[in-house]
C-alpha cells in the first residue's frame, strides 16, 4: 500500500499521489476479484474470500497474487462470482472446493476451467471473458465499470482509476458557477425518480446566501431495487466525490448522507471512504489550499420508505418523525434547519465526477436528447439473467429484457414489466419497443423511478400485482394524510375483493374514481403515486379485472380463491403421489385407479400439480 501522505495542499500533491497509486496498481496486475456484495455474500462469497486468503498464504503466493473483495459485479443470480486478472477470466458459482484448481491452473498456468465458465441458458454457449457475456456486452457500464476494478475500501484504487481528478480540477480551476454550467450542459436529470434537472436545484441553491446543506438521498426503499446500494458498496468514493463537488458548486459547506439502516455494509464503506478522504484533505477545511471547506456527516434512517421523500427525509435527519410537509416553501428556500438545502440521489451524484472528468459534451453523446447519460436498472423477476444492468437512456425495453436479460425464464411468454418501483406502473408487451427515457415512460403511464424493473410472465396475475404493491404502500404510508392512509387501504380492500371473487359489479368504477382522488388530493409523492399500480394495470389489463369480477375467473391462475384443481380421469395412473403429498388430505382414490380431489377440503396449495408425473392435475 502506498504510504499515506499528509493532506493535499495543491494540485501537484494530488497528481504525485495519483502517480504513485497508479504505479502501485500496475504492479499488482495479477489479482482475484471476489464479489463481496449482498447477492454473492448470501451465496457464500465471504467464506470463499477467507478460504482463498488462507490458501494463498499457505502456499506463499501472497506477494504475487493479490485478492480484492469488490462491490457488486452485476450477475447476481450466478454468484459467487470471481474474476481472475489480468486476463479477466470470469468464473461463476465458485465453491471453496474450486480454490486450488483456480489458483494452480488458471492463475499460475493460465488454463481455463471449463465447468466454472458462464454458459448461456438458451444457446448453451460458454464464455471465458466477462466482457463477452451477452449480459454485459449490450450494457454501457460507465458507473459500474469501476466495481470490477477497485477495492471499495481503498482510496488509492479509486484515484488510480481516475477518481477525485474531477474534484481537484473543479476546486483548483473552476468557479462554482462554471461547475453548475457544465452540469447544465450535460442535462443530467435526477436518478431518484422524478427526473428533475440537477443543475436547476444547484443553481437555485447557489443563488442563496448563508449556511447551506447538500444531502445525498440514499434511502433506497423500493422492493427489488438495489442500484444505490451497489454503488455505495462497490464504489463509495464516486458518490462522495459527487457530493463534495455538489457542495462546491452550490456553496454548501455541509454534506449529509441519509442512508437507511438496512444497508449496514454500505454505511461501513461510506464511513471508511469519508475517513480516508479526510486523511487526504479532500474533506475538511481549506480543501486543496482553497477557501472551500466541506464536512460530511452520515445520518442513518430507521426503516421508513416515506423518508425517501425529501421533506420527510429532512424531518428524519433533524430527529423528528419522518413525515412529509407540504411544499411550498421549497427546500431550496427552507430545508434542513430552515436553511437552503439541495437533495440529490446517490446515482445522480455518482454521475457528477464522470461529467466533469470527461466533459459534458462527451457525456451528452450517450442517451437521448432530453435524457442523457446512462441509468442503472435492477433487472429482476422472470428473466434468465437477473442483476444490475447499466444502459444508455433511450434503449428499448426489449433490448434490456431480451438482449441483456436473456429473455423470459423457461421460454414462457412475456406479459408486462413493472418499472419505477411501487409507485411506478406496468408496461405491456405491445409497448416493448418503448425507449426507456424519463418522458417516454411517463407518457406510457409508468416512470423510470429509481430504476427497479420487474419482469412478469404470463403466469402473473395483474390484480395480484396491484394488490402486492398496494399492500406495500399501505404499510409504508406515514398515515398523516387521510386520503393516503384511508385511500390506499380502501383501494387495497377493493382489489382484495376483486382477487377473492367477492367484488360486486360497479366496484371497478369505484376503484377508478377513488384512485383518481387519492392521486389528486394527497400531500406528498408517496400518496400521489400510490394509485399508479392500480391505474396502470387497469389501463392495460382491464379485461383481466373484469374476468375476476364478472366470470369469477383468474386468467393467470394465481388468485387462490378463484382457481380449482381437479384430476383428469384419463391421464391419472393412480400412482398415489398426490394423495401422499397433499397437506390438506383432499385427495382420495384407490391405488392404481384414478384419484379425485375433494373441493371442500382443498386449500389450493398446488402441491399435487408439482408432484404429478402424469400431468393429470388440471388447474382452472
Amino acid at each position: 500500500m502506498a504510504p499515506l501522505p499528509v493532506k493535499f495542499k495543491t494540485k501537484e500533491d494530488f497528481l504525485s499521489f495519483k502517480q504513485r497509486s497508479i504505479e502501485q496498481y500496475e504492479k499488482n496486475r495479477c489479482y482475484l476479484a471476489v464479489c463481496g456484495d449482498t447477492g454473492c455474500s448470501v451465496q457464500g462469497s465471504k467464506n470463499l474470500y477467507d478460504q482463498l486468503e488462507i490458501y494463498l498464504r499457505k502456499q506463499g503466493y501472497t506477494e504475487n497474487v493479490k485478492l480484492k473483495c469488490t462491490g457488486c459485479l452485476g450477475l447476481c443470480e450466478n454468484g459467487p462470482l470471481v474474476i481472475v486478472y489480468p486476463q479477466e477470466i470470469f468464473y461463476q458459482r465458485v465453491e471453496p472446493e474450486d480454490i486450488e484448481e483456480i489458483i494452480e491452473k488458471t492463475v499460475i498456468q493460465g488454463e481455463i476451467i471449463e465447468r466454472l465458465l458462464y454458459s448461456d441458458p438458451v444457446s448453451g454457449e460458454k464464455y471465458i471473458y466477462g466482457r463477452e457475456l451477452p449480459f454485459y456486452k449490450s450494457q454501457l457500464r460507465n458507473l459500474l465499470e469501476a466495481n470490477w476494478k477497485i477495492d471499495p475500501g481503498s482510496i488509492e484504487d479509486y484515484i488510480a482509476n481516475g477518481g477525485y481528478a474531477a474534484l481537484v480540477n473543479a476546486v483548483t480551476e473552476m468557479d462554482p458557477g462554471a461547475v453548475v454550467e457544465e452540469i447544465k450542459k450535460s442535462q443530467l436529470r435526477g436518478r431518484g425518480g422524478a427526473g428533475f434537472y440537477t443543475w436547476v436545484k444547484w443553481e437555485e441553491c447557489r443563488q442563496q446566501t448563508g449556511r447551506k446543506f447538500i444531502i445525498c438521498n440514499a434511502d433506497e426503499g423500493d422492493p427489488g431495487a438495489f442500484m444505490d446500494r451497489s454503488l455505495m458498496e462497490g464504489n463509495p468514493h464516486s458518490v462522495l466525490e459527487g457530493l463534495i463537488i455538489g457542495g462546491y458548486a452550490t456553496g454548501a459547506q455541509e454534506g449529509i448522507v441519509y442512508i437507511r439502516a438496512e444497508y449496514p455494509s454500505a454505511v461501513e464503506k461510506l464511513k471508511l471512504a469519508i475517513d480516508r478522504a479526510e486523511d487526504l484533505g479532500l474533506v475538511g477545511e481549506n480543501i486543496l489550499g482553497s477557501d472551500f471547506n466541506f464536512q460530511v456527516y452520515l445520518s442513518i434512517g430507521a426503516g421508513a420508505f416515506v423518508c425517501g421523500e425529501t421533506s420527510a427525509l429532512i424531518a428524519s435527519v433533524d430527529g423528528r418523525i419522518g413525515e412529509p410537509v407540504q411544499k411550498p416553501p421549497r427546500l431550496v428556500q427552507n430545508g434542513y434547519l430552515g436553511r437552503p438545502t439541495v437533495v440529490n440521489n446517490v446515482e445522480s451524484l455518482a454521475n457528477v465526477p464522470l461529467i466533469l472528468r470527461d466533459g459534458a459534451q462527451k457525456y451528452c453523446r450517450v442517451g437521448t436528447e432530453k435524457s442523457s447519460g446512462t441509468k442503472i436498472f435492477s433487472l429482476v423477476g422472470k428473466v434468465n439473467n437477473t442483476g444490475l444492468v447499466e444502459v444508455p437512456l433511450g434503449i428499448t425495453l426489449r433490448e434490456i429484457i431480451y438482449d441483456i436479460g436473456g429473455g423470459i425464464k423457461e421460454g414462457k411468454q412475456f406479459k408486462a414489466v413493472q418499472t419505477g418501483g411501487p409507485s411506478g406502473g406496468c408496461i405491456p408487451a405491445s409497448s416493448l419497443d418503448l425507449p426507456t427515457d424519463f418522458d417516454q415512460l411517463s407518457s406510457a403511464g409508468s416512470m423510470i423511478g429509481s430504476g427497479g424493473m420487474i419482469v412478469m410472465d404470463d403466469e402473473t396475475c395483474m390484480v395480484d400485482i396491484a394488490r402486492y404493491f398496494l399492500q406495500f404502500l399501505a404499510d409504508e404510508s406515514c398515515g398523516c394524510c387521510f386520503t393516503c392512509r384511508e385511500g390506499i387501504s380502501r383501494l387495497l380492500e377493493i382489489v382484495k375483493e376483486i382477487s377473492d371473487g367477492s367484488a360486486k359489479p360497479g366496484q371497478l368504477e369505484l376503484l377508478k374514481e377513488l384512485a383518481g382522488v387519492v392521486k389528486d388530493s394527497t400531500m406528498c409523492g408517496l400518496g400521489q403515486t400510490a394509485p399508479n399500480p392500480v391505474l396502470s394495470t387497469l389501463r392495460h389489463f382491464e379485461e383481466e379485472y373484469r374476468a375476476h369480477i364478472e366470470q369469477k375467473h383468474c386468467p393467470a391462475g394465481v388468485c387462490r380463491e378463484l382457481i380449482t384443481y381437479s384430476i383428469d380421469q384419463k391421464l391419472c395412473n393412480g400412482c398415489g403421489l398426490c394423495l401422499k403429498n397433499c397437506p390438506a388430505g383432499a385427495v382420495t382414490g384407490n391405488k392404481k385407479e384414478p384419484h379425485y380431489i375433494l373441493y371442500d377440503k382443498c386449500d389450493k396449495c398446488g402441491v399435487c400439480t408439482t408432484v404429478c408425473r402424469a400431468e393429470a392435475v388440471i388447474k382452472q
Binding site: 407540504q326 398523516c480 394524510c481 387521510f482 400531500m523
Partner: protein
C-alpha cells in the same frame, strides 16, 4: 400586502397568511376537520383542498398549509375540488359515521351513498388533540404511535402520563367525540337528517362559480313560488 386572484376576484391579503385564512376573510367557506385557528396547520384531513395554479396546470393543495403568494390563482369550488371533497367525505363517513360534524358535511355536500364497508372507527387522526396538548397546554401528554393504517393516538408507552393534567382540552377539540351523531343506526353509515342545504350552482355553471354562500345568483333565479 400580497395580490392574488381568489375565485376570479382580485384580492389583496397580508403576507404570511394562508389561503384558508384569506378565503375565510373574504367570506368563502372551506370545510376543515383538522384545522383550528389557535393551532399550527397540519394539512392532514385534506378537506380544505383548493385548486392552485393556471387553468390546465392547476393542482390541488390543502389551503390551511399553503402560504399566499403574489399572483396566485386560486379556486375553491371547482368541480374537481368538490368531487374530491365528496369522495373524501364518503371515506370519512365509512370510517367514522358517529361524528356529527362529518354527517353534517355529508348533508352539505350531498353525499347520500357510502360505497365502502363501514368501519366505525372512533378516531380520524386529525391530530387536533395532539396539537392542542402540545401547543396550548404545553403538556405533550399524547402523541401519534406507529404509522400508516396502524397509526393511533395514545400516551407515551400507553401508560397514564405524568404530564397530563386531565384538562380535557383534547376531548373538547375533537371533531368526532365532541358532538356525536345519534342519527345513524349501526347498519346505516349515513344520516342526512339534520342539514339539507341545496347544492351550490356547480351543476349549472360548472367552473364559473360565485363566492357567496348561499349564492345570490341562484337565489335570484329561483322562481318566486319555489
Amino acid at each position: 400586502m400580497v395580490n392574488m386572484i381568489l375565485n376570479g376576484l382580485d384580492i389583496s391579503v397580508e403576507e404570511g397568511t394562508t389561503l384558508l385564512e384569506a378565503a375565510k376573510f373574504y367570506g368563502i367557506d372551506i370545510p376543515t376537520l383538522c384545522y383550528d385557528e389557535t393551532l399550527s396547520p397540519y394539512g392532514a384531513c385534506r378537506l380544505c383542498l383548493v385548486e392552485v395554479g393556471e387553468p390546465g396546470k392547476a393542482k390541488l393543495f390543502s389551503a390551511c398549509t399553503y402560504p399566499v403568494r403574489e399572483g396566485l390563482i386560486v379556486k375553491t369550488n371547482t368541480k374537481r375540488v368538490i368531487d374530491a371533497r365528496k369522495m373524501i367525505i364518503e371515506l370519512y363517513l365509512a370510517s367514522c359515521p358517529s361524528s356529527k360534524k362529518i354527517q353534517d358535511l355529508a348533508s352539505e355536500y350531498g353525499v347520500t351513498e357510502v360505497r365502502f364497508t363501514p368501519k366505525n372507527d372512533e378516531c380520524i387522526l386529525c391530530g387536533l388533540c395532539v396539537r392542542v396538548c402540545e401547543e396550548q397546554m404545553q403538556a405533550k401528554a399524547i402523541g401519534f404511535i406507529d404509522r400508516g393504517v396502524n397509526r393511533y393516538i395514545s400516551t407515551p408507552f400507553e401508560r397514564q402520563s405524568e404530564d397530563c393534567r386531565l384538562c380535557g382540552a383534547c376531548m373538547y377539540i375533537c371533531p368526532v367525540c365532541q358532538a356525536r351523531c345519534q342519527g345513524p343506526r349501526e347498519e346505516e353509515t349515513i344520516c342526512n337528517a339534520c342539514l339539507n342545504i341545496s347544492p351550490p350552482c356547480l351543476e349549472k355553471y360548472d367552473e364559473a362559480m360565485c363566492y357567496m354562500d348561499p349564492c345570490v345568483a341562484c337565489e335570484l333565479e329561483k322562481e318566486p313560488d319555489e
